[in-house]
Point group: D2
Chain length 347, copies 4
């Protein structure tokens, strides 16, 4: 039945990259499947681009905090075109350019384990030629973005957006501190500037510092030369400290020292060796500590509005063709460069 229907757009099989929890890079496998048919409220998306996130690496390394299904199709991040819709679909049309929402059922409000199902984790991911998603599990791509650019957003950009606007909120003119040049940090820098904030960034080299300055950083501290950067952050803010930190490094005590009284540290990730947090320092700093688990669909949508209005372009490091996906993973495992690693199905 799905087959007969599939003839409408003329393809019957598709290729997908699968990975295994804790299986390392050698568990990456290309498989062929029949193209699935969308159910009544689902859409079929021809995926044209993906990006890789630390989620993928953590799954390969076997240290990911949420359930991961066996032999899943990899990658939470993907963008493509809707090529077929179920009979009851009324909010998406064939031809729409869309991105998948990582937490397919977390629409708004507080995170809840009841809506923890996620692409490329408990659910199959998007490193595949075709994917079936609920019509409520996709969002439109901002007009100016290519599929490659759009594919960088679902995981790290939504995380950065939530980190900045999901807690106390960010007022124009406030100070934001970003750490390093990972995916979340680059988007946090770009979004903070878009929202009218001043940004202090840290970087591990002068070359990266120069790139961060180009992206709009008002000041950059070399964290290799200045490992106790909190002091320098305070000097740059007349002793006050910043209002928000987006901490991707788990250097939470140093972040607390860099933050103004009553400010906020958004704590993104760091599943590995984050140091214990000094409770007395936390108390005397009066800084709220907010762990971030990505973000919900409403974050994704408001972020897309902002990206569209500001004509913001994501930073892409390298684009690999779909056939060279293993090389993309290896490049990422080896440390990558500056910006997101993208896989293009059209390249």
């Amino acid at each position: 039945m799905g087959g007969g229907w599939a003839h409408g757009w003329g393809v019957e099989t598709m290729k997908s990259y699968h990975i295994q929890y804790g299986g390392g890079l050698e568990s990456l496998r290309l498989r062929e499947h029949p193209v699935p048919a969308p159910g009544p409220t689902e859409v079929l998306v021809r995926i044209w681009a993906n990006s890789l996130s630390s989620r993928e690496l953590n799954i390969l390394r076997g240290r990911y905090p949420l359930p991961v299904a066996d032999d899943i199709i990899a990658a939470s991040d993907g963008a493509g075109e809707v090529v077929a819709v179920g009979a009851e679909v009324d909010r998406v049309q064939v031809g729409d350019r869309v991105m998948g929402v990582v937490f397919q059922r977390w629409f708004d409000g507080r995170f809840d384990l009841a809506h923890a199902d996620q692409l490329g984790g408990s659910l199959d991911g998007l490193l595949t030629e075709y994917a079936v998603l609920d019509q409520d599990g996709v969002v439109p791509i901002p007009g100016q973005l290519t599929y490659e650019e759009a594919a960088t957003l679902p995981c790290v950009a939504v995380t950065a957006w939530n980190a900045l606007v999901g807690g106390q909120g960010l007022a124009p003119g406030e100070h934001v501190l970003t750490l390093g040049s990972g995916g979340v940090s680059l988007f946090a820098l770009q979004f903070a500037k878009l929202l009218g904030a001043r940004v202090i960034a840290t970087a591990g080299s002068d070359e990266k510092a120069a790139r961060l300055t180009e992206l709009g950083a008002d000041a950059v501290i070399n964290h290799n030369l200045t490992p106790d950067w909190a002091k320098q952050v305070r000097e740059l803010t007349d002793g006050r400290g910043v209002d928000h930190v987006v901490d991707v490094a788990g250097s939470l005590n140093e972040s607390l020292r860099a933050t103004a009284t009553g400010g906020e540290v958004a704590f993104v990730g760091s599943l590995g060796g984050a140091d214990p947090i000094d409770a007395r320092l936390l108390f005397t700093s009066s800084v709220t500590l907010r762990p971030i688990a990505l973000g919900h669909k409403a974050h994704f949508q408001s972020m897309n509005e902002a990206i569209a209005a500001a004509d913001l372009r994501p930073v892409i490091d390298r684009v690999f063709p779909f056939d060279e996906t293993p090389a993309a993973f290896r490049y990422y495992l080896d440390g990558g460069g500056f910006g997101k690693i993208v896989i293009s199905h059209a390249a």
Copy 2:
């Protein structure tokens, strides 16, 4: 000049209890002063009642995180009657029943070291017969409260209010966890019920558990019998955990384990030996950790409206006469009972 003016209400000298930072109970001294005259925008208050808070004990013990002036008049908490006002005072009248606002210059918004001046710390406190305060540094007493009851509010009740409403906010029907039967915890319990929440409390004895149940607790856990109470909190909430914890004990890791994904732990005080916080536990819990430094004047005012509308009565343990202030301190140092320790100038 102040003297001539003072004749209007017929008293020229007053008694005040002074303490010394780190001086222990033996530093408590009764002194006599001329009654001060209010400046143009100030009011003179005849203090009729005080209460004692852990702030006082921490100052005597020499472990208080904010600056404390030398030989200050003790006590942040006091209530009384306005007996004289400066020439430009337009928002307070002679005869008004008022309480002092602990942070005299923190009116609203984020806490800032620029408005850290506080009664009984960097500024003289209210354990005195008369006090001069700025007209903006006092708030009216809810109609139904006695001076003794009102004197319990400025420090611990405002802290409890801020802990519940100052962060993510508390919706009716949500679950709140309070720890023990200290001043902040009792008010947190009463306010949480007033706001329509369900409350789980911990207590150190069956007798205290009974008192907490009388105050409205929906469930009480004996934390001596069940030191790993988080598990029991989860059972009481169908595995979900509570939405808010008001943690006065510094047991932050256990609190994180007791809190629902996306909930909030308000961290009140614990200047002493709070254990380091497990960063990985913080991240996987997705619980926001919010240190509380008392609250601002707007918190105090909105709390008073709520107290008035609900006809809420504070829990008073014992009332000592002003002359027996040293005994009140000693009783407090020895552990006190259940509720606030009050000093009455009229007793």
Copy 3:
């Protein structure tokens, strides 16, 4: 196929009351249908109770602002038990006690015409023995409520909740004004008390005034004796005016006069002859005017939490058996009594 499946719970046909837009009471018809089968993400609900709302009357009178389908099954409000679920349903179970959400697709955030589909309007309603709804279009009934009580909530209670909490929000101790004793007003009164507010109500008779006082009104004004009640509202609030009005009568200029500077008038309904609003009065009052179109699913859910925690019981005027539905409509058209008119399928 639906038939074969239906055998599982043993009923194959059901009765439903249909109405016609603008058709008056004579258009009310009882029809028999096959019981529908739920789709993959849908649930089948055995409806056990309904209530009538002014929506039904407005549809019969042909003055309803949103699209109404031809010959629809009547009534937005219904409560019942889930008796079957589709293959992919994962958030609702057979046996769940549920209410239908009026706007089936308005989950949260701002109202949008894209999610204007509503039960008993553009979609079939719930005045039927069985109804198929999306699993996301139902919410659980608070534990203490009967089906009859639960059936009163979807339309007027959600509207009242949104009116109080959906705009500036309602702080404990603030003043709320409710107008008359219609369904929205009674819930607004009960919810305002639950939220710690003080309530002034208006009523058309001493008898109704007494009922409102029983429900918790702190003061009641007879609007027949005092048609310019704003003056009296100001007297009851020391000249200040109330903080919130829930205006169901369209007496907006009088409401503006009764409201404190910077307060809010929630404008509920009044599709008929509301007088034009005096723009100068609006400006000088500094009162925000907020039209209310029911509320979203998240309102419904947070309201249910509050109702459960406070053990609140809706006010029911009369209960009619399902077979006497025409009499229930007639009774409503004739003005009804005090509280909601309910239709019980079990009576």
Copy 4:
């Protein structure tokens, strides 16, 4: 006494322009006074620039809704340098560049008649060489602005800021509609762009339309050629309407027609002949109508942070020397040009 003190900075008399409520332009008088001395918590400001607002015109015309003192010094808007401070002043220093806060006692929260005192209305204004203000009644000038530019902010810019951010808030990517090229509208346009919004403006001529486009308007409608501009606004927004209108013209029904369901119309001023508002249109639009009475000190401060971070420059039409103040008023009465009319004491 003030005299002796005044010798410290060497000037003893000052000139001030006074106006009379309802007195028309002929009531404008230049007077000479002794320079006042600041009280203990006050500061003395050497005013270097003023701007004119419609408040001044409304006072001259005798139609202003708040109390106006007799023979007051004119102008709510002024900027200058602190030249002396009272003995207890601790938050402002001699040499600080400051602007006066129009509502001297409205610091935050809802507007209340208790803090309705305003410069150039119930209190003397700033069209004078020296002014004494409370230390809490001034805010620092953003670093990049001249005194002339700073003098344009206190009234219309704060109003525009409040109109955009004080209600539902403005998210990046949302649509804003501004009407005409008055002072509030120009700032609303600039701020909306700074906040990442898309702006549709109306203008009365092609020349003004071109200026608005330069300032960042994404589209401009000529309201003389298209008096029913709501239709065109809908076309420009794919039928949806804008999310926010800043309505300075009192064309509220047309604004409601131009606004998306659930959006907001901020209603600024229009004390004259605003048409009555169609209550049914208001209800069916689901648009919140929010009258704006300037804004509070916290609005002023957050706006200044945004202006500083974005390096925003106000639009100045013409600068008149202090001696030619009557000509400035006449120019304003005759309709002015494009941007604010400024009076410079240094010119």
